[in-house]
Each structure stands twice: as C-alpha cells, then as structure tokens.
Symmetry: C2
Subunit: 399 residues, 2 copies
Amino acid sequence: MNQNKGVVLKYGGSSVADPQKINQVADRIIKRKESGENIVTVVSAMGKTTNGLIDLANEISLNPNKREMDMLLSTGEQITISLLSMALNAKGYKAISLTGWQIEFLTFGHHMKSKVQSINGDILRKYLDEDYIVIVAGFQGIDETGDITTLGRGGSDTSAVAIAATLGYSCEIYTDVKGIYTIDPRMYKDARKLDNLSYEETLEMASLGAKVIEPRSVELAWKYKVPLYVALNTNDVKGTHISEEGDKMERNSITNVSIMDKILLVNISLVTNDVELINDIFVKLGNENVNIDIISQNKFSKDKFLVSFTTTSDNKYIVSEVLDKLELDYDFIENVSKVSVIGNSMRTQAGVASRVFEILSQNCIEFHQVSTSEISISYVIDDYNIEKIVGILVNEFEL
Amino acid sequence: MNQNKGVVLKYGGSSVADPQKINQVADRIIKRKESGENIVTVVSAMGKTTNGLIDLANEISLNPNKREMDMLLSTGEQITISLLSMALNAKGYKAISLTGWQIEFLTFGHHMKSKVQSINGDILRKYLDEDYIVIVAGFQGIDETGDITTLGRGGSDTSAVAIAATLGYSCEIYTDVKGIYTIDPRMYKDARKLDNLSYEETLEMASLGAKVIEPRSVELAWKYKVPLYVALNTNDVKGTHISEEGDKMERNSITNVSIMDKILLVNISLVTNDVELINDIFVKLGNENVNIDIISQNKFSKDKFLVSFTTTSDNKYIVSEVLDKLELDYDFIENVSKVSVIGNSMRTQAGVASRVFEILSQNCIEFHQVSTSEISISYVIDDYNIEKIVGILVNEFEL
C-alpha cells in the first residue's frame, strides 16, 4: 500500500484552456508525481466553456430548468478531465479521470448552488494506492436522488479543498495570477503580493470580491485546517500561503482592497413601511436562490419609503419576475461595483471608516450604499469611479 | 399508475443540431405526448459535436486512451438531453433528462465499442408513471466497474431499440432522410422509398453501408421483435416500417444497393503462406478492436503471397502500428468504397452475381475485392467509379 503523503492540485479554466495548455499542466503534474507525492488534480472547464454552455441554454430559455442546467454545465469539467488524463496516459503515466458521481461527491441544497455533503475517499484512495494520478472533475456532484448538481461559480476551488480535507492532503490552487495581492493587480499594477495570510483575512477578501479564490473554499479549508497555497499556474513565482495564523509581521491596518463588479442595485418604492411585505419580498427572492447582499431602508417623505438591496447582475431576470408578481414599483441601477477595504487590524484600530468617508467626500465620489463588518467596509460605487477610488485608497493606505 | 402504451422516439444529430432544431423536436414530442402515449426520447450529440470532440482528443494524442475517449464523447449526448429537457420544461411540460449511468445502462466488451448488457427499466417506468417525458442520452452506458462506455458510431439507434425492448415499446427512428430507399437518395435522386422491410433485409442493408440505420440496432430489434419505423424527422412523409415479415408483395430480386465509403484496403506481402503469422496478424488487430471486413489471399508467384483485408479508414493509424511491430511489408489503398447489391430473393434466384460481374467488365470498372453472402454481393471499388456503377446498377435492376 502506498503510504505517501499527497496533495490536491487545482487548475482553473485559463490553465486548461486548450490542448496545448492541458499538455503543459500534464508536464507540471508529472514533475510533482516524480517527487514521490500522491497526486489528485481537480480541474475546471476549459477556458470559456461554461459561458458557452450558459449561452446555449439561454437560446432555449432565459430561465432554464436548474436541474437541467447542472446536467448541462457538468459536461464542461468532464471534457477537461478526460483530455488531461489522455495527455498523462500518452506521456506514459497511469492516470484516471473521475466525475463527481464516480467519487460519490454528495451534495445538498439547491441545484446550481449545491453544498458539499461528503466524498467517498475510499474510491480515491483505491486508485492512489495503485499509483494512479487521479483527475477529478471540479464543480460537480450528485444529490441524494442521483441527480447531477453543481456548486456554483468557482465551485472547483471548493471541490479541491473538500477532496483535500477528505484525504488529509494539502491543497494548491493554480491560477492566472501570482498569488493574493493587496489589490487586484489587473486593477492596479503596483499592487503588492502577500506571502502569508490567515484564513479569516482571506475569507473576508474572497467574500468581498477578490477573485483569486472562492470564499466557500476558504471557509471549508479553515474548518478542516487544510493548508492552502495560491500561485501562478506555472509555479515559477512564489505564491501566497494561507493558514490559521497568516503572517502577523505583515499586518497593516488595511491589507486589501477588493472589488466586486457586476452588481445590481435594486430600489423598491413603497407607500408605507410595510414590514410584512418587505419580509415577503426577501422570502420570495430567497426561494428563487437570489443572494441578497447589502440591504438598506430609507424614508423619503411621509408616503415614500425606499428599500434597496444589491445582488449579482445575473439575477436581474429572476428579481424582476418576483417583483412584478408582487406588483411593486422598482428600478434597477446597473454598472455599479462594490469596493471593500479589508484588514484584520481594523478590529482594534479605529478611524478607518471615517478616513474612507472623508476621502470619498474630498474627491466628490458618490456612493449608493455602504455596509461594514468587523474587519471591512464596503461601498457601492458607479463603475466609472472605480479606477479613481482605487488609486486614492492604495495611496492612502500604502498598499 | 399510468398504464398507457408507449413509444421510444430517437432523434439523430442533424435533428438536434442547434437550439432552434431542439425546440422543433420538443414541439413534435409534445404533439405525441398530447395523444396520450408514454414517451421516451433518445437523442444523439448535436450536429458535428462528436467529431469536434474527437478532433480535440487527437490534438492531445493520435491514439488516445479509450476509457478516456468514452469519458469525453459521452458529454456530447449529455449536452443534448439537458437542452431538450429545458425546452420541454420551458414549454410547460414535465420532462427529465437521464444519462446512461442514471438508467443503469450496463454494457460489456471494449471501450468505444461496448455492447448492451441490460437497462434498469424500473427507473424509466418510475418517471413515466409520474407522467414525465423521459429524455435519455443515446450512445452511452457504464460497465461493471462504473466506467463510462460508449456503443460506437451510430450507437444511439442501439440505445433506442434496447430501451424499447426493455419497456415493451415500439421504436421510431427520426433522421434526415425520408425512410429506407432502394439506394441512398443522396447518391441517386430517383431512388424509390420502401414502405415495408423485413428485419433480415434491413440488417443486410445496414451492415453493407446503408447509413439510415445502424445494423446492431436492427439485430436487437429483430431479436426482441421491437417494431421499428424509420422516417424523416419532421414526420410529414410516410417512412419505412420494419417488422418480421416486411412486405412480400414488394419483393424484387434486388431491393437495395448500399455503399460504404471510407474503406481502407490493406495489402500485406508475404514470402511464404505462413498460416501462423496470418493468424497472429488478425489476433493482434482484433485485440486492438480493429474490425476486419473482406479478407482475401492470393499467391502471385512461388515466393510472393498477398493477404488483403478491408477495414474502416479510421483504423489506419492502429493498423500501421500493429503491422510495423510485426515488421511486415504492406501498403494501403485508400479512397475506395464497398458497393453491395442486396435482395432477399437472391437466395432463390440465381444469376445475380454473374450479371454484376458482366456489368463491371462491360463498363471497364475494376474492383479490388469481392465477397458474397446469401442475400448480397459486395465489391470494393475506387471512389471515382462509384457514381458510374450506381447509375448502371439502378438501371439494370430497376431500383
């Protein structure tokens, strides 16, 4: 029996976008395999495959049946695992691809947003003991009825961490950026890479829009103490290690500015502050799996109340359907993003919120909404102001 | 419990080539459903999807791992079933898509050429009893280890007939031709459509290259006495019924001329008539799942023996690999097709073979190989002669 320690390597869609890139990933896996480790690789769908499948479904229906969407979307990862396993086999290595249902990756909850229940580690261990490189389809599972389910956007990170937790392995997430930065380097070229982060800081950053890693996967890694490493897919630059402690030395009052784009701000006008109706709105949206983010309520005049909330803009169709059924007067504000400033030490250092308010006011940048947590403050701002505010915040907080 | 009789409707790749065509198929299914029948629909991959997936695999390896090919190719049908079910759901009908493994479509034999073992009809009946339109992925199953398998090219016909046999339903195969003809109407525009055929005649025609229906599916229908109907996907023209008896009234000495293209003729030169070596060649080709068709042996001179056989041209790479390993002297003849004349009554009417020989000779058409069965004669002929010989045969036998 093979008693080696092992690692779960996760490659995202841009790392496996075409056969040539899949061959390059195969070479990197072989290098790791040669070092004597057990290897499980989790992959996403190739490049823009998932978006292509969604477009195809939308040609059939703008609100396609969600069970069938999972049936459709899960094919994307199945294509990648077969091609990567072919590449490894062609290079003379024992490799086997496995779908979600083949490793009994059980999920619960709603289609397209399922949550991990359990994984049959024995199936994985059987192949690992026979010295196979095991390639698992990320993002997908099955529910208790045997229907195919998916974990939602970015779910492959969650798949990778869940498998690492099941096997007691560490998890390395390879992507097209060099690690986790003080701010998205695609937004601000002088952003600083962070060598070490705590689960908590990473979770807050991921939840508030840093796109490098999916928040649920960080939460899961934290819960099961899975050591995480996020790095460039070529692995020729040092990435970011995520652990319980992070790197206390590195702590600034603010460690990160995250931006979440494609936000939909919904304003609903009511004539009275009807608590029952407001509750009904959010229950009905919840039933349709619409994630609600920042909620605010304002009284404009004696007979005008405004209830506002944000959600992701892909929920536009279903939100309007729900609100139309309730015969409500509402409008959408699009082309807005959520900018969040995050830092573990905001817990103990006061004054960050007031400094940010001051900055916005001095620079005449309006915001639509604001919300705060223990270690973050978030503003909903028009897209055309994002670049300006990011430059100012980076300077102000020396990121 | 729903006690209605039912039908399996099979739609091929060209019938579901894009979302618009999938919507049209959904409308035809609904019309049938409204007539009170239980409906199971089996679909192929959309349009040229399977060829696209094969091209993708060949960018990774020219001889990709076959287990992984099945993992890859099975995604094609999975995409179609999800989209068709979405279309039916969007039109307000209860529909559910099911993969091969979800209906326990068990297979045995080799990857990419698997054979049907059994299907769990209870799973299908459960959904039919709940009034669902059931959409099943053709072409795919699982083996006893839980690996995804496929039934080979045209395997969706076999899937449809196997499901019909399991449920005791009839099976209707919708395609892009109006039924079964005396000769492929794409080759000869005045071809006559046959209203009724026996399983045996259809099987011979399908085996000899008539592309309307897959031979294994006819064999399976014959074995389980599944009534078959082959028709245009719009179903606005009467198609061809296939049953035990066919239509005795209609019988001519020759009912059909079939053409199988993309044939590879392999000539192997040997210095002695080495029976053991020849046996070894065919065993090794068989181990690689190379289907061998017409075999002939000729002695050219005291020290030159020629062994020839035909296979499909997609086996070119693997055949050359096997023959190279055996260090044999061989060459390939490509761009040839097999022309077969078929008729149930050839059994009792003599002289057909000699008439065909005479025709070829009078028209100076060379043939590379010939083979005969009880109700057919087949010739391997250069592609550039095909159109000419077809015209002559149709005239000669009044097809």
